[in-house]
Symmetry: C2
Subunit: 138 residues, 2 copies
């Protein structure tokens, strides 16, 4: 099962790198609950339009590295966590790169593993600045 | 199983409210991987000293509400996500309150459910300010 999850996540990362909207959205279960890097706190249901809009802010393909991936899987329920690096060039020419934490919860639905919950984040500095910690490395 | 997880999380929330360090730490598996509200990106192993230090920054007990809790559980693997509200008065008299997202992954170890992965976060504003979104509500 662990190998299946690893493959699912690898394929999904490929889809993100290529900004392939169909392949990216296919990874999600219909009622996925997402806790994203950006507000709101939570969202239910895969947001295809929002993902396409976000893809369109990047000039070319994305760098998307998944590191320290750990997977726990049963027959039809699994979770995985990793530290990911996302980088690329925005349409205005600015180069952006960010390490963040990712937790995925998956279920096997009709024979395919689907993401039913996604939680991605960076921590924030509790020094009074309330700055998001977008400059951390593993 | 879902009821067992719900009870485990309720007891853990009680421990946090009371700043009961033993009961709080007892909820974690030894090798728990934590993605916390504060840096670093990730930590392995429950940090008893850090938790006690954090408890000591609060004058009295904590308000800790768990809402929109959804649980998926098999015999020995489970995950849960919720939107939590944490509030209290710091030792300097300042009143703090924060809504955040929480994802917990649990395993049944020697008959007891333990947290093997905890991911808590707020999103951040992608308006150039890179401010943590500590003012959101569900």
């Amino acid at each position: 099962m662990t190998d299946e999850i690893r493959r699912t996540i690898a394929q999904w990362a490929d889809a993100l790198r290529a900004k392939d909207i169909d392949a990216t959205m296919a990874a999600y279960a219909p009622g996925v609950v997402t806790f994203s890097l950006a507000p709101p706190l939570a969202q239910r249901g895969a947001d295809r339009a929002g993902m396409q809009e976000w893809f369109d802010t990047w000039a070319k393909g994305l760098q998307y590295d998944v590191s320290e991936l750990e997977i726990t899987a049963t027959e039809d329920v699994a979770y995985a966590h990793s530290l990911n690096y996302l980088a690329g060039t925005k349409t205005d020419g600015q180069r952006n790169g960010l390490w963040f934490r990712a937790t995925l919860c998956l279920r096997k639905i009709n024979g395919s593993w689907k993401i039913v919950h996604e939680h991605t984040s960076v921590p924030f500095y509790m020094d009074g600045s309330v700055r998001a910690a977008v400059d951390l490395k593993p």
